[in-house]
Symmetry: D5
Subunit: 123 residues, 10 copies
């Protein structure tokens, strides 16, 4: 059952769009490449969102994270990029992505980016 990394994020219809509720998906197995040194970087990515009409399909999310394996990616940019891609693919009511990167040079970096749909109060 070989599958391939992909930037495509699949979705399925939200079974309960009449209600605001939260889905959190934690992936401790994110790896990409440092654009400066070409060496591997590792992170735990947390996605937390309130779906509107569609939910993120889990298997495609896994393949999407996999697609970063050979790409160069800065901590700040990649966390925001994931959030942008989730928003584009599923148009959630709210979404948050937290990239908790492994220690480098004695420093532990965590980037947190948040989105609220334009019609949500507080946006």
């Amino acid at each position: 059952m070989p599958t391939h990394p992909t930037k495509e994020l699949d979705s399925f219809p939200n079974p309960n769009p009449e209600r605001d509720y939260t889905i959190e998906i934690v992936s401790p197995e994110f790896t990409c490449v440092c654009p400066m040194t070409g060496q591997p970087d590792f992170a735990e990515i947390t996605l937390r969102y309130v779906p509107d009409q569609t939910c993120v399909e889990l298997k495609s999310l896994k393949l999407y994270y996999w697609s970063y394996r050979d790409e160069g990616a800065f901590h700040e940019a990649v966390t925001n990029q994931i959030l942008d891609d989730i928003v584009r693919a599923t148009a959630p009511r709210e979404a948050e992505v937290i990239g908790k990167f492994n220690v480098r040079g004695g420093l532990y970096t965590t980037v947190t980016a948040t989105y609220r749909a334009p019609d949500r109060d507080g946006a």
Copy 2:
């Protein structure tokens, strides 16, 4: 003393309806079947609610969770379904159901659904 799984949720009169208070019941032993692969899924279900005129009877809640053992259930749908059934059976002032599902494909999923009675402020 054999008993049987059931979708029926029993209740008993709230002994203190004059006061808002919270009941939390955590069940680490929830299991159902993945509708895609037919394989078992496992979760910890947390129910937290403010009772109005009735409280959920514990033994029936256990049998209710048991009733999912052989059913196919998606993470998002089953968490919302449990909340709907609790609301229908006991008409609480507020209720929340958290389904914390075991890791699948390296991803840890938690679904949180919340209900507030129409006459509660903030609803």
Copy 3:
């Protein structure tokens, strides 16, 4: 130095009534009897309150908890009962009782009841 369980809750004058402050007392040694099966139940009881003119005397609180040892008590009712008795005995500005009951039938139940004096804002 044998002493006896009692429903009497003693108090002493609040040494600092001019200030709102919080006293929290955690008792991991609460036990009563299940009214359904007659078998022992165990819980950790947390009392948290803002005293007004009097404070709960610790030794009498211990004897008060002891008084439940041979009594039948439902989770929801006993937590509210303790709160009521504290309020009656010491007339606090605010009080909260949390009953964290030991697992029964694979379910972990926690009941939280809160009181605010009628003249407190937010009450």
Copy 4:
């Protein structure tokens, strides 16, 4: 389904007497009475044994522990007493009882008693 505390320890035939193996049963809900002060004492009792021809029946063990609820018992004596009763009731190849008593006077006491059948090497 009311049941009653009892000093009787039931057993059932060991399903695998051809092999040495270990059964550990932890009970965090042991309570007795301090013979000096008459006040309740609490402990976590761990039983660990290698069965010979019979195993301890779980429900009877629970009722057996319950039987101490109203008895006076010193830490050292009660731990040894439980070990003696287990040995008498099931004649295990090896057995160990650990009584981890709740703090009293700022002191945390743990008593550990061990038994080996006379024909075991090392006994």
Copy 5:
């Protein structure tokens, strides 16, 4: 990709039979049925073994554990049964199975069974 529970345990050739080494596989998702009450039981099963000519195939181990889902099984018997089946299927040099069962009636039970091949010293 639906698959089915099975009692068949597949194996593959040990890639390093020239050396004693240890493989540990922990499964927190074991469930069976209590033969007394017909109600679900839950456990974490740890398998630890030194392979000889063959290793346990992971996917078949998962399906094997799944096969207990609808079977009645006592704690002591099922832990020994798993060990026997592993020994029969892969003839390891050493093997250990630890069944850590969820709390029932306030009691936490863990069963540990160990096997050494007849020609191992210490056996």
Copy 6:
């Protein structure tokens, strides 16, 4: 370098009075005497404050806590007393003292007292 316990609390000029910021000092080594029994009591004292023109000097704070070693002190009174002394000595914008006392009679007591300068909003 022998030093002596003292009720005197020294201070030094706040190096950054232009900004609200928080200083937290945790002392796990507080001991006094129970006024009822004459026996030693132990606590962990947490001081958290927003300095105005002066900060608490650390060494004098240590000697101040030491000064309670031979004094009788009730849990509620001593926590409020420490807060009063800090306020008098350094006139902070906000301050909080948390006394977390060691278990006595199976009860764990924590007292939390808070101060806000009269000209702070919320005071």
Copy 7:
């Protein structure tokens, strides 16, 4: 690849200035010198900020922390100094520095300083 400590803090353009998001960098390897005794002090420094047009460059931040290695520094002053330097170098929308200093004389000190740009609401 020898490098040198420096007070210079480099920055790079914020890749996502259109959105408020948070960057947290924890350094458990901060050391300076106590100005009173000349002895080494150790701390964990947490920087948390919302970037505006520029982000702090990680390597320069490491060299910046290194620059304190031989400098005398009081707990309160150095935490505020780091915040001031971050604000000057990168003009963030919000920033917070937490200095968690190792125990000295039995006391654990944590200093937390916060900045909000003048045009942020809440500032």
Copy 8:
């Protein structure tokens, strides 16, 4: 019920001298005075012993530890002293004292002293 510190260690007859078993008593509330600086020192003292004809009486052990409150005591000497006093008072088959002292000058010191009666094998 005021009591007084004392160097006297009381004992009571071992209820089970026919068996080797272990009694462990942990006291997190030991304090003495540093002989160099006169300042308070704090430690957690663990006593673990196999009684012969007598057991240490708990209340007298508490008063014994209390007796160090105003005494100067070096880490190494006091741990050995406690062991000597236990041996003298109760003539145990084996005994161990562990003094885990609070951090001083950034150093965490633990002293462990062990005794075996002359007629024990291994002594």
Copy 9:
């Protein structure tokens, strides 16, 4: 400073060959590819060894682990392979490699392989 993955393991002369001592190096950032599915696998690799004439050079060990990033590798084989490569490169007196692989299909696998030089007693 781009570098490249390599199978070459560098070493440097053991500074203290006159003494047996242990070096442990934990790498939580090992990733390879599952030979069955082509999907990424993740593991934490622990290397523990007693050096003889040479020690493993840290940077080359990092590049060596990196070299598995695009290779197919079974859990059992890769753990033994790393041990073999370490032994070939540095001829240690003793060595152990522990591969703790991330959960797959609900199963947590850990492989432990050990080496002792032929002239070591116990080998």
Copy 10:
């Protein structure tokens, strides 16, 4: 009270040379310089020893650790060097030094060196 780093290790007479006992001293505040890059390294050093005629004086041990602050030191060499210096200064019956170095390049290194006096059995 300024003091200075020094390679001198002071000792004092062992108060209980008639008995084997263990002294453990943990220092989480060790820092030196990487000889390759000139950058700071950090470690937690644990010293555990059985004294013979003398014990290590704590304050001098602190100053001794301090003496490495500006020195270049490889992980393996410095751990062995500390052990050698302790042995030379105090001639213990047994000694062990554990250097647990902070993560570098994603690798966590721990070095453990042990000494036994020539006349100890097992040496």
